[in-house]
């Protein structure tokens, strides 16, 4: 089992130490933050309400090396394939899915989506010719309320990495989530996503998920 232990990043502490009242009153808070993991009580002892206390952590795969070195033309455009999207999502993506915090000085335990098998190689369907990609992810537990953030983060990561011609569909693996249809619908409603990404608090959370906090 590969564990990666890093000091808690300062920006995530900033997020968690926001007074709870402020979080609840934020009008633009699109996803219910009450379900978010930590309840701050007057800066003293933090009571953690974890969604998944003991995730199953899998081994990380070795980074695959492209063996085709026949194309030496720097300016040629190669079609985007499953491997490239896999690289975009797996190795650049360090989602901090679970914060296990007893008090503010404890280190975090960030796991990557790959280690939690939220995303696997089979998760990605891509057709470069049609400029289409579909990513299917499996939340660790059926009632995972982080699923919306994960889905949104996957979309943002792909939007930032792929050419604008790409059509992106994100969905949860069939049967893996209690409100699967509702979740899929909102993750793929362009207007809702656009409005959510205008919310600076949410963008911060997404950026937090996407920033590689360990290396």
């Amino acid at each position: 089992m590969n564990w990666r232990i890093t000091p808690a990043s300062s920006s995530s502490i900033k997020l968690l130490s926001l007074p709870l009242i402020e979080l609840r009153q934020s009008r633009y808070f699109y996803f219910s933050l009450e379900n978010l993991l930590v309840v701050c009580v007057r800066g003293k002892r933090m009571v953690s309400g974890l969604i998944n206390e003991n995730p199953t952590v899998y081994e990380r795969k070795e980074r695959r090396v492209r063996t085709d070195s026949t194309n030496t033309d720097e300016f040629s455009v190669e079609p985007i394939d499953q491997l490239e999207i896999f690289d975009i999502l797996f190795f650049d993506f360090a989602i901090v899915n679970i914060h296990h915090i007893r008090d503010i000085r404890d280190p975090e335990h960030p796991y990557s989506l790959e280690q939690l098998k939220v995303l696997t190689e089979d998760s990605v369907e891509v057709d470069d010719h049609k400029s289409y990609v579909r990513v299917t992810f499996t939340p660790t537990v059926e009632h995972c309320s982080m699923a919306t953030i994960i889905g949104l983060s996957v979309r943002v990561k792909l939007m930032r990495s792929l050419p604008p011609r790409y059509k992106i569909d994100i969905r949860v693996a069939p049967g893996s989530h209690a409100t699967e249809a509702a979740l899929n619908k909102q993750l793929n409603d362009k207007e809702r996503v656009a409005a959510a990404l205008e919310n600076p608090n949410l963008v911060e959370m997404v950026d937090e998920c996407l920033s590689p906090s360990f290396e």
């Binding site: 604008p164 059509k167 619908k185 809702r192 656009a194 409005a195």
Partner: protein
Amino acid sequence: MDLMEKNLELIEVQKLEGHTDRVWNAAWNPVSPILASCSGDNSVRIWEQSSLSRSWSCKTVLEETHTRTVRSCSWSPSGKLLATASFDGTTAIWEDLGDEFECISTLEGHENEVKSVSWNASGSYLATCSRDKSVWIWEVLGGNEYDCASVLNGHTQDVKMVLWHPTLDVLFSCSYDNTIKVWWSEDDDGDYQCVQTLDESTNGHSSTVWAISFNAAGDKMVTCSDDLTLKIWGADISMMHSGEGYAPWTHLCTLSGYHDRTIFSTHWSSDDIIASGAGDDAIGLFVDSKQHDPVNGPSYNLLLKKEKAHEMDINSVQWSPSKESRLLASASDDGMVKIWQLETTP
């Protein structure tokens, strides 16, 4: 004049560049050769056609008012006022003063993003809708005053678009809850109620309904949806004009298989051509097949499909009200507004 018999093509007349983010909506001024477009860059651009060169250029940019995406814009029937709906929760009313536009009023009240705004036929009412699931009716009073006349609840999810009927004071709204609702005030006392809901059980859509459009006569409407179909509906509105009470809308026809991504916009031209704009970057044009089938009702044929009309999703398609030429405006995620002409090729 049967359109299906001719060789028709949608020719790109001009590409209007300037917005720095996706363009959500385009609206033609009903009386002058002016086009308004609104965008994720928080601004509204007014494009005017030069009478000499016939080309379009950006006359003015309305900015520094909305603090978030401007999602839709709509001209009043007189063509003097422009209403703009924004994700910042407000609807701004702008007056065209000739050289510039002035924001004369701001309508507040919705709890979150306003998605759409619509003027009724006489310009005496405005309607707005929001992610807060409500539809608001505003009364246009004199002296730049607007008063909230009614807050209509009923939709169970975000309301995507509102549209007044072209001749009657009947309001239509479509939503993320997959339904279309019809709102009417029977006694004309301003007390609007939901008199009909078009949902899956009445042959309605199976996913988010994004837009509504009426034909010129107002006895037919087209709706488009995330379920990849367009649906045509009809009603006996002469009954309503003669005061015999509410005439319900019934499903007439479903157009499917023409787009493989969400259809975001549809517009019915005054000479009976239905345009659709979708997430597959294509514009579809449809006409009545004129086959009088007593059992199955009217049917519609694809006149043409313009693939790759834009480089990204098309958010809005609007026919120009001008009778002279068949001009179509399209707005896209690629930040462009394009003007097209439907022409017969020799």
